[in-house]
Symmetry: C2
Subunit: 168 residues, 2 copies
DNA sequence: CTTGACAAGTTCCAAAAAGAAACTGACTAT
DNA sequence: ATAGTCAGTTTCTTTTTGGAACTTGTCAAG
């Protein structure tokens, strides 16, 4: 399968990865959440080549994750800002960061700390169920075919996840 | 910056992406959560080339996200199972899937539905603060340098995110 | 008027990675 | 003997990336 066809897959993860499933794209978005907006700033902070950066920014704009906004005329200069669609990637990025904090940090601990403004404390993200509000782990969810599935494939026979628990 | 140095960055997202920040790796993990364990099964379901699949599985094993477990001798056959470290990627994958359901689905809706076994309802993941339990959005968090930051860089001047709200 | 700086790219080439498809090795079934 | 299964490896071609220089429009200094 090729990258270009990934957004046709009957899988929301594949479709999401068609937009952000690239080594640089998520780092660009991380910087967007930190307030970076300009081409040069992305380049200096990320160490990505201008070539690739231009391509990734263009794709993010095409997918409506970023918007190009002029901040001066003569010469025309444009910066990149998160759209609402882009801002909604925050939970996903937060979850990836949290995993890295837990499993990839060195002995000094997490490189950056997230302060929850509402309560004022350093926080970790916790994933809960939208219906009952209880925390959700991998073993607490069961997957079923939904309306958008189509006819293309079939779910694999469910196996138990490693480490105990019951997955049907 | 090269892919190989990414896990040295003082950023948990970069370090996480050094492990899973690849177009195929997250799709492999998605299938792991669906119960897929064998080389052939991954290949058939993903449409990835055997070459790349072998490479990604090897890297996931090296990083301790998957474990290789023999399921028969003569001939030796091994399958890949999520470790606890791998299982903890579930919130991140769920968040990416949820974004895709919301922003990349066609008119028929989400391809697959997640049922929360504890309460029995179809669910979306909601990210809440570990300290106060309130939902957390991008505009509710403030980023500060933590103990693991080192001396390598500096946080950018914080800008307001697009679409209202106040980010200090 | 010429030079230099700034910002946001584009162009060019060599190197690395990915795609496609055949090949290997240790078996089992017919 | 022949074919099939499974988990890869090898070979070859195409695509993508990394690195670095070049372009365009404008302002400021000398």
């Amino acid at each position: 399968m090729r990258w270009e066809n990934l957004d046709q897959e009957p899988c929301s993860l594949a479709r999401t990865l068609a937009v952000v499933g690239d080594r640089w794209t998520l780092l660009v978005l991380r910087d967007c959440f930190l307030g970076v907006r300009r081409f040069d700033a992305f380049e200096k902070r990320l160490g990505v080549t201008r070539h690739v950066l231009a391509d990734r920014l263009k794709k993010l704009v095409e997918h409506g994750v970023l918007a190009k906004v002029a901040y001066q005329d003569r010469p025309l200069r444009e910066e990149y800002r998160l759209t609402e669609k882009g801002i909604e990637l925050h939970p996903a990025i937060l979850a990836l960061v949290s995993w890295g904090d837990r499993h990839m940090a060195d002995e000094r601990g997490a490189p950056i700390v997230h302060i929850h403004k509402t309560c004022g404390h350093p926080m970790r993200p916790v994933t809960v169920c939208s219906e009952c509000g209880e925390p959700v782990g991998a073993r607490d969810v069961q997957v079923e075919v939904g309306a958008g599935w189509g006819e293309q494939g079939v779910l694999p026979q469910r196996q138990k996840l490693t480490g105990g628990g019951d997955n049907g």
